[in-house]
Symmetry: C2
Subunit: 123 residues, 2 copies
């Protein structure tokens, strides 16, 4: 019998998820699932991200094949990012995650408060 060998998360799993679930990726992917976006559109859509972080996030997502980058050679240049078919398969996992977060937001806020009170009381 396989006692606990079911869904062990190994290094490749974790590395992959780290690349796609990082701080800004979810926001970017969620945005690009709605519609293709240009660089500054994304900045406006995710106001807290800096240009530098957005750039590296986009590169990483592109490298992993979940978004693609198209350069339109106008003056000045336009760059359009869009979700790929592979990226579209992330829609469901992301939605499940967001649904969970939305549903449990208040329960978690309560847990945090309780924890912090316990901490302050010295355990």
């Amino acid at each position: 019998m396989d006692t606990d060998a079911e869904l062990r998360i190994d290094a490749p799993h974790r590395e992959l998820l780290d690349q796609i679930l990082d701080k800004w990726s979810l926001s970017v992917l969620n945005e690009l699932c709605e519609r293709p976006c240009r660089f500054n559109e994304l900045r406006r859509a995710v106001p807290q991200v800096t240009q530098k972080s957005l750039t590296s996030t986009l590169r990483r997502l592109e490298r992993n094949g979940v978004i693609e980058r198209e350069v339109v050679s106008t003056r000045p240049v336009a760059v359009r990012y869009r979700i790929t078919p592979l990226g579209k398969t992330l829609r469901h996992p992301i939605d499940v995650l967001l649904a969970w977060a939305t549903q449990n937001m208040s329960a978690i806020a309560a847990a945090r408060e309780a924890f912090d009170v316990r901490e302050e009381a010295g355990r």
Copy 2:
């Protein structure tokens, strides 16, 4: 149907997900979903994590109410971590995520190779 129901990820959403989807949390949660574990059991189950990172991960997950910590006052002390009811609701999102990663692992590896070749070729 959510036609264009903006599932905008706001700051609270992202902060919450950052706390629960970080580098080691998935592995720890996945393990604790199987059974309660003691500290060093978790270390063995997730061999790459350091004691320091495991400690902070556990604290954070406890603060967010998804796991709980029980101290058994023996000599020497035993500490047992277990998933909470709230934490159990993470089982589905995590499974969806792992399923996605497993299914698309090779497609992503291929995308990375293609990207790296393009890079090397100077775009």
